[in-house]
């Protein structure tokens, strides 16, 4: 089966580099799954669960934002924060919610919708773990 080269990088380090068979991505316009030979897409991420299927293994990461670049046989996820799912517990998510709430407080009027959406997405993470 054709695979797609998956890279997960954060500003501080490279988190993963795998040959994946499929990747589920929480895009800001909706979740989607990328497989080999996907059309080139560049999309931003919303807070959510990124799952990568490598053979029969499933790896899951909680991401809080960033973007994905998919071109043919490559998928690069540039995430500001990405944590393996098994390292995330409720307290981590609550920390993120708190951050999003603070961000919502001192946001300008035009960005208010975005910040609200972000908070809602972050809250939705609680149901994932």
């Amino acid at each position: 089966m054709a695979t797609i080269q998956f890279d997960l990088v954060s500003p501080e380090r490279k988190l993963a580099s795998l040959e994946a068979s499929e990747i589920q991505i929480p895009g800001s316009d909706g979740d989607f799954t990328a497989m080999a030979e996907h059309a080139p897409v560049l999309t931003t991420l919303k807070p959510g669960l990124l799952s990568v299927k490598v053979g029969n293994d499933l790896m899951e990461y909680i991401v809080t934002g960033g973007f994905v670049e998919i071109s043919g046989s490559n998928a690069s996820v540039l995430a500001e924060e990405a944590l393996p799912r098994n390292e995330v517990d409720t307290s981590v998510i609550e920390g993120l919610i708190e951050k999003a709430t603070i961000a919502l407080e001192d946001v300008t009027a035009e960005n208010k919708d975005d910040a609200e959406k972000r908070l809602a997405d972050t809250k939705a993470l609680l149901s994932l773990i």
């Binding site: 560049l42 999309t43 960033g66 043919g72 540039l78």
Partner: protein, 290 residues
């Protein structure tokens, strides 16, 4: 001729200085390795970000609705110079080379009638520029409590810069830092942050992307991140350069101290022998007189 006791004290003091500089050199070498590793680790992200931004920016910069961060405020009057230096001294010409570059730029801008504002990162640059450019300083970022520079620090600085820009406090922002070339050489570099500039690598063919949500939205979302990434990269380069500069400065200092000890030891031995010879002459001439 200095007496023997003074010489002895002097030699001992240079010896302990040598111990200190040697220790600092070793500490800097260890820190340098770590700083280089984190600079290395951050590179894939920065490279990808840069490539994507170059791609997006080349498409959008001509458009009327291009984000202000990319297109600029339309003016070129107020310049913000961000001077990133170290929190500590004893690292050779590291801090002063950045200060020198920033000072030259400030002088150039002032003479062509522009307004200059300065934001300093790191104590040492602030101290050096305070004397002549103190009235132009608008802000200072203190990283002295920070052990290891993380992305969060950079994004904090970047978002401060962006909010200042949005308030119309300046038109052009440039960051000054030392680019790490090797342990022996660090290159003082200036990089324009706002309006953002991204260089497309030659021969890199950009695939035609489908953008989600839209191209403009993606660009607007990514620009602040790209800015943070640029600041982060600059800070990491600076961190590695600082340790590199300190390492070679301390290496020189250790060697100089060694030379000095050798010279002083020769003087010490000569004076000691002279004293012994003198004493012998006194004894012999005393014995002959009897």
């Amino acid at each position: 001729m200095p007496n023997l006791k003074d010489l002895k004290t002097r030699i001992d003091s240079v010896k302990s200085t040598r111990k200190i500089t040697k220790a600092m050199q070793m500490v800097a070498a260890a820190k340098l390795r770590r700083a280089q590793e984190s600079a290395e680790a951050g590179r894939p992200y920065a490279d990808r970000m840069n490539a994507v931004m170059a791609n997006l920016a080349s498409g959008a910069s001509g458009a009327d609705n291009a984000p202000k961060l990319l297109a600029g405020s339309g003016e070129n009057q107020v310049h913000l110079l961000i001077v990133a230096t170290a929190e500590r001294g004893l690292c050779g010409g590291f801090n002063s080379s950045i200060a020198k570059l920033a000072r030259a730029k400030a002088a150039e801008l002032t003479s062509s009638g522009k307004t200059v504002k300065i934001l300093t990162i790191g104590k040492k640059g602030r101290e050096q520029l305070k004397r002549d450019l103190g009235d132009k300083m608008v802000d200072h970022v203190d990283l002295s409590e920070v052990k290891k520079i993380g992305y969060s620090h950079a994004s904090q600085i970047a978002s401060d810069i962006v909010s200042k820009f949005n308030l119309g406090e300046f038109d052009v922002a440039t960051i000054f830092y030392n680019k790490f070339q090797s342990v022996m050489s660090q290159i003082p570099t200036e990089l324009q942050l706002i309006p953002a500039k991204f260089e497309l690598d030659e021969g890199q063919d950009a695939p035609f992307y489908e953008y989600e949500p839209g191209e403009v939205e993606v660009l607007a979302d990514l620009l602040p991140r790209a800015l943070s990434t640029q600041v982060f990269t600059a800070l990491l380069e600076n961190g590695a350069s600082e340790q590199g500069a300190r390492m070679s400065a301390m290496d020189n200092a250790t060697r100089n101290a060694g030379d000095m000890i050798d010279k002083l030891t020769i003087v010490y031995n000569r004076s000691r022998q002279a004293a012994i010879t003198n004493e012998l002459i006194e004894i012999i001439s005393g014995a002959e007189a009897l």
